[in-house]
């Protein structure tokens, strides 16, 4: 996992601890993207907000939402984003930024548990729980657990993967053919 201290990146730009305004957050985002691109083998990127005193809506939009946007658009390769060490202030403003277009959601790790910031379709919340809390890792297992058709289960898992909320790997089956295996970004219980 690539852990990026946002405060350190911020310090390089302003020497301060306040992540406010779009131009500053854009600058910090580009620095972080450069770090991500250097780390070829790290799929999971943790943005650690420890030491960031403040982030406004615009800063949250430019840094978190736009970064998530680029990850989802596969501009940075196969990557997954996690946020950590958020204060109540950070969390509120990141949620507001995620809520404006309701396009993306992101996972926050807090006290060894995962929390979802932003919204996902209600029908996908159960699937997220199944992957994170019940070890469901294939469409077939999800289908068995929920009683849904395997195709529908596969579609739901695919949607969560496309939102980069779960990981996906390809597996070749001994009897021939292949299947996708899904899994948590971080091995921790999800509280939704």
């Amino acid at each position: 996992m690539l852990s990026v201290m946002v405060a350190k990146e911020l310090e390089k730009s302003t020497g301060g601890k306040l992540l406010a305004t779009r131009p500053l957050a854009r600058q910090v985002r580009e620095q972080i993207i450069a770090r991500i691109q250097e780390a070829f083998n790290e799929a999971v990127v943790e943005l650690n907000f420890s030491g960031v005193e403040f982030i406004d809506y615009s800063g949250a939009d430019e840094l978190v939402v736009m970064l998530m946007n680029r990850i989802i658009n596969k501009e940075l390769g196969e990557r997954y984003l996690l946020l950590s060490n958020l204060t109540e202030w950070h969390r509120e403003n990141i949620k507001a930024a995620l809520g404006i277009n309701k396009k993306h959601a992101v996972l926050e790790v807090r006290s060894n548990e995962l929390f979802l910031l932003g919204t996902v379709k209600p029908m996908l919340v159960e699937v997220l729980r199944a992957v994170y809390n019940s070890g469901v890792d294939t469409a077939r297992k999800l289908s068995d657990a929920t009683g849904n058709e395997i195709n529908l289960s596969g579609t739901k898992l695919l949607q969560l993967y496309q939102q980069r909320l779960i990981m996906r790997t390809e597996e070749f089956l001994p009897e021939g053919g292949r299947q996708y295996k899904y899994g948590p970004i971080l091995s921790a219980p999800l509280v939704v």
């Binding site: 301060g16 779009r22 939009d61």
Partner: protein, 287 residues
Amino acid sequence: MIISISGSLDHVAFERIIEALMKSDGYTEVTFDASEITFVEPYGLIGLITAARYCNNLGIRPKLLPPSWKVITYMHRMNFFDSMGEYGYWEKVFPFSLPIRRRERPLLELTKVETGEGYHGIIDISEVLMKRMKMMLEGDSNYSPATVSGIVTNIIEICQNLEEHSRDLGYVAAQKYQHPSPTVKVGIMDLGIGIANSLKDKYEHTISKWSDIKAIRLALRPAVSSRPEGGGLGLTQLSKFIKERTKGELVIRSGNAKLVISHQEERSYKGLPYFPGTQISMTIRGS
């Protein structure tokens, strides 16, 4: 021309100032007679400096007749006279080197918001605001951490609108009151292009009979922004914060319209005297 201001220098007084200014054609000097002012709110204080700036832009010399000693010392603490010096003349009645004690400091004195191309101006304001907020509101049981965060965030967001959307410099000030009830008041103003002109190119064709009041209402909707790449967080979140989190009031004036939003109701005013830019007043009530 003399514009007399009496009683409270607030948004009602500011409307009277605008109304009077509309009759300033042909005058070379406007005197703001502040001698009868008894109370000053951040919005009114900024209104006065903005009115002086407006006169200055029109080539009219603004002059101030000072208020009472009590009010003048408050205006000094709010940094009014330094700012007034840029635009007009006032009768100096006391030594302006008068020290300001720490406990007398406002939440945010009259501050010019001039960002230019970068972000440093806003970051500087944010740093002062954070320090003052911590000093004056943290630990005050009347304001929850979420409310304190909301105040800081919304002030900083609206300040960013000045340069980016209104395309003008502006002023911001904030004050905390204990009586009659715990309240924070904030004023932010500019003389820029206003909300209707800012959103016109992108949204005029989507709304019939485009007007200032329709533009203000539109600006409060999520994801509405003059930025080509989107955004639209500032005013939306501000109105949500005032309506849902505080028992306060938000006043947005732009062009010839004004929208007043509280947790209980929404009132709109059309056909007011035209004044350039955008003027915002926030009232946040503590619990």
